[in-house]
């Protein structure tokens, strides 16, 4: 107000005539502001904050759940891997055993054949040798008779045979 400077106070703050006006409008303002804040603004902001806290909490628990699921899946995977490996080992062992059995059978069969053939061969060798011995003794007896006849000695066949056989046995 213009008369402030004139009345020497100089401070509009101390002009008592405006106090009632200021106080009235201040009280009106405070009531309006309190009403707006407490009825509209603060509940909304509080709801948003609570909402966010709830979302964060549920997100964290969901993440925890997913983590557990992932761990379970990993465990299942490891278990499946171990199972598969064991199964594979088992199959390999079985195959090995089967092959070994077949091999054994074949070996036995081959052994039997080999021994049969060996026996056969031995028998034939013995036959050949026996027949050879027979022929040797035949030839020796004939030769001895012929030699004795050539010398003019008359030898009876039986004693010549016996002598030759005895000599052959000695030499054998």
């Amino acid at each position: 107000m213009a008369d402030d400077a004139a009345n020497g106070v100089g401070m509009p703050q101390l002009d008592l005539s405006t106090f009632s006006n200021q106080i009235f409008w201040l009280i009106v303002t405070l009531f309006v502001l309190y009403y707006v804040m407490s009825r509209v603004a603060l509940p909304r902001v509080a709801a948003v904050l609570a909402d966010r806290r709830g979302t964060i909490t549920s997100d964290i628990s969901a993440a925890e759940e997913f983590k557990l699921k992932a761990q379970a899946a990993e465990e299942a995977y490891h278990k499946a891997k171990a199972d598969a490996r064991a199964e594979a080992n088992r199959i390999v062992e079985a195959a090995k055993a089967e092959m070994q059995a077949q091999l054994d059978v074949q070996i036995a069969k081959a052994d039997a054949e080999i021994s049969a053939r060996t026996a056969e061969s031995e028998r034939r060798i013995r036959e050949i040798r026996d027949s050879a011995m027979e022929m040797v003794s035949e030839v020796s007896k004939e030769a001895t008779k012929d030699i004795l006849e050539a010398f003019g000695a008359k030898a009876d066949a039986r004693s010549v045979n016996a002598a030759v056989s005895a000599r052959l046995k000695e030499g054998a």
């Binding site: 804040m37 902001v45 904050l49």
Partner: protein
């Protein structure tokens, strides 16, 4: 004050004059610049807290974040300073904080009127706090509220003297509470106006006071927020005394 020096007229206190908006005399109900700037304070606080937070988004926008920060800041202050059972007074304290903060900040707009620079306004605010806190103290604690003045940890001989000191300091609370705010607001604005007046008087060297006003403006911005903070935290301290009067 200022018009004593001729040709060099700075009237730093003119900005605090209460004027009727539509002319005429000022009676208690006349719409004045007080009415206008208080209404703008309500509008600004509502814009921040309602329009700014209108998205109610999970991930807040800047304005919503500011509204939530104001909420969280005052809520935590009430809880930490005045105790958990003081949270029911949170809307009252928040209203007080918003009013002082936006009155201070809007007052920094050039040609604005700073409602909180008037002792009539801050005194009503401080007295409201003082009276309601005192009444609350007696309602909640009965005569035990007087234990606030009786320092039972002091030697018995000292207690009456301490009680007198406590009583005086208790009644000094609304005075310091109100004058601190009004004084800080008024001083800063008056100094800014004086410097601005120098700028027009100094001619070519005008940039010196302009720079000074710029620096002062930054300081005043800080003061505006700090004074709102101080006013609110003191209210919380007084509230704590009412809720828990024992030392």
């Amino acid at each position: 004050m200022a018009n004593e020096s001729s040709g060099f007229e700075i009237r730093p206190m003119d900005q605090f004059e209460v004027k009727a908006l539509f002319g005429g005399d000022i009676s208690w109900y006349t719409p004045t610049n007080v009415t206008l700037w208080m209404a703008l304070t309500v509008v600004a606080a509502s814009v921040l807290m309602i329009y700014g937070a209108r998205g109610r988004a999970l991930v807040p926008t800047r304005a919503q974040s500011a509204a939530e920060m104001a909420y969280g800041f005052i809520y935590k202050m009430v809880e930490d300073v005045a105790g958990h059972d003081a949270v029911r007074f949170f809307p009252h304290i928040f209203t007080l904080f918003m009013f002082v903060l936006f009155a201070n900040l809007l007052g920094l707009i050039p040609f604005a009127f700073t409602t909180t620079s008037h002792i009539a306004v801050t005194a009503v605010l401080a007295l409201t706090v003082f009276l309601s806190v005192t009444a609350l103290g007696f309602i909640l604690n009965g005569t035990k509220f007087l234990g606030l003045f009786w320092v039972s940890s002091a030697p018995l001989a000292l207690r009456p003297i301490l009680a007198l000191i406590e009583l005086i300091s208790y009644f000094a609370r609304p005075i310091s509470h109100s004058i601190r705010l009004a004084g800080a607001m008024m001083a800063g604005h008056a100094v800014a106006k004086v410097f601005a007046g120098f700028a027009s008087a100094l001619g070519a060297a005008f940039f010196v006071p302009v720079l000074a006003v710029t620096a002062l403006y930054a300081l005043e911005l800080l003061v505006a927020v700090i004074q709102a903070y101080v006013f609110t935290i003191l209210t919380c301290v007084y509230l704590r005394d009412a809720l828990h009067p024992s030392h």
